[in-house]
Subunit: 344 residues, 2 copies
């Protein structure tokens, strides 16, 4: 059975759930928008599926739900933000005005976030910049889960990298790729749904190839995409997200030892570029020329297109969620919350 | 039979060859250093193997051997350089002082090169920045050779991306990766040596998988590494190297129609970051911690290490080159050049 909700109502519900479980109202609103946005866009593995992880992590005390990020104006082109051991998106929101000011003045700017937790997809962080006409690159490191090329033990994180590019009369082209063949979220979902994974996805605790998602999660490792090339990208992400930000490497993260904690204390960097500085106002049209040519040789859709299609459906028809998930969310509300006893 | 030369002598010989074939002395010196450096570092596919391509391209008139790059101070963080239809490395050399000045002031800087040809490896462009303590990313697009994920015809270039990172007591970690499984240089070398290539490397003109390097070169296409993820990276490189720089996309390049022309009129971008701004003086030591951990789980060497080992051997023992290649190089010198008739 499914429940139908408007995205705004879902966002509001998630915000109340997070507030009840240790987040400040302002911080909960930012994280709830990301979670509800993923659900709205059909990105299930980063939507409501993540709520138990957020709650477990908040309740364990591992993450700071009432974080107050400290934004520092480090150089004319650089903002450095200490996330106060809270979620990275909150640090990004606090840093955005100064970052955009620097970008506008210089044509390129860097945001380096440290002491942060990133438990969401990366595309929501960069999409708004591209929607405003900018190019954005972002890098996040996570706890060790990926065996570097040539190794049989995990050392690097799944370390996603995202790229967002404005278009002329269309929403931005945005991709967000784990450095592993598959994100751990997908492996978790496969384990939950009882599915096997492809044979290049991971290895078990003995370093042997396996298709069992549970064996990968239990002491095994994910494998980098594209062999040594994806492994090099994973290491680059580790450097740009952790070393550059003076944050923690994935192998230094202690979350695996904290009961209930699912996010890593790590780092994130964002590089923004203003393409109008070098390419003028024609940039979005030029990019569209490239995209039409991609379509003309058989590419069926651009990165992000599936999410935008799901978003349009959700905006028209509302978001459909499993009633058992809806009941779970309601059970996390305080007894005083009217939605706890009466569904809207 | 092999000839033994000091790197400096090889560089000087290559410079004279290039000058005799249409390059200004200053420009020839820059390109010769890159070619001889690749040969010194054991990077055969980008060393002397490329000389016929340089000569053919220069003689065809497709590339401007006497280019005078036009460097523009576009924004406080951005340098834009028109390479005057010459080699990209010459534009980079001309842009370097202004780029470093901007980097020093802002902590991050962008160099956007357009109207340029890049017929070399990308690591020589970024290694010196990392040797000076900086992080460097670079992107170059090339003529269409790669079928995007889901397509059966070439559209994207092999589009290399490079990343260079300083270390504490070691030369920088530098990688330089084509967005294809294999660089076209390797496929060309396989064709020359009569070897097959692996079966994920490319497709033939009918879009079928093939291991024949000649079938890939004759109307077929290379495949992106890591499936859709490498394809997304290839498209990102096309955007950052061509659209961002107001340069030409690979599919707009006309080099395939010019007899003898092997390099594309395309673009290049370089992003520089000063890690001391965000991470302080500890950055190289932090990076070394990551690298020791990579080694501890079984990684046998870091990207760049093989080149540095070859470089040390060449510095000690000289560079060994096939005598037939040496004779070919001498045949390209003017009759007045003493080395043409008398080997040193």
């Amino acid at each position: 059975m499914k429940i139908n909700l408007r995205t705004e109502a879902l966002e509001d519900l998630v915000a109340r759930v997070l507030t009840t479980n240790g987040m400040s109202g302002e911080n909960a609103r930012i994280v709830a928008a990301v979670v509800a946005g993923a659900e709205r866009d059909g990105a299930r593995s980063h939507g409501l599926f993540r709520i138990p992880g957020y709650i477990g992590t908040l309740r364990s005390g591992w993450v700071n739900g009432i974080s107050v990020p400290k934004v520092t104006d480090t150089a004319p082109g650089v903002v450095t933000t200490d996330a106060d051991n809270g979620y990275s998106q909150i640090a990004l929101a606090a840093s955005r005005p100064l970052l955009l000011e620097k970008l506008k003045r210089n044509g390129i700017a860097l945001l380096a976030i440290r002491n942060s937790h990133h438990f969401a997809a990366l595309w929501p962080d960069v999409e708004p910049f591209a929607a405003a006409g900018l190019l954005a690159l972002s890098f996040v490191n996570t706890r060790s889960r990926v065996a570097p090329w040539g190794a049989t033990k995990p050392l690097l994180g799944t370390n996603p990298m995202a790229f967002a590019c404005p278009r002329r009369n269309a929403p931005p082209m945005v991709w967000d790729q784990a450095s592993s063949v598959t994100a751990m979220g997908e492996v978790m979902l496969a384990a939950q749904d009882g599915h096997a994974v492809a044979k290049d996805v991971g290895i078990d605790a003995e370093g042997r190839s396996t298709t069992d998602p549970k064996a990968i999660m239990a002491g095994g490792a994910l494998l980098p995409f594209g062999g040594h090339k994806g492994s090099a990208i994973a290491a680059m992400v580790e450097i740009l997200a952790a070393a550059l930000t003076a944050g923690r490497f994935g192998f230094e993260d202690r979350s695996a030892q904290i009961f209930g904690a699912e996010s890593s204390n790590a780092g994130q960097s964002i590089i923004l570029l203003d393409p109008s500085v070098t390419a003028g106002a024609a940039f979005p049209a030029r990019v569209d020329e490239l995209f039409s040519r991609l379509m003309s040789v058989g590419v069926s859709r651009l990165p992000g297109d599936q999410r935008y299609a799901a978003r349009r459906r959700s905006e028209r028809d509302g978001v459909f969620i499993e009633s058992k998930i809806y009941d779970y969310l309601r059970s996390l509300l305080p007894p005083s919350d009217p939605e706890r006893s009466h569904a809207p």
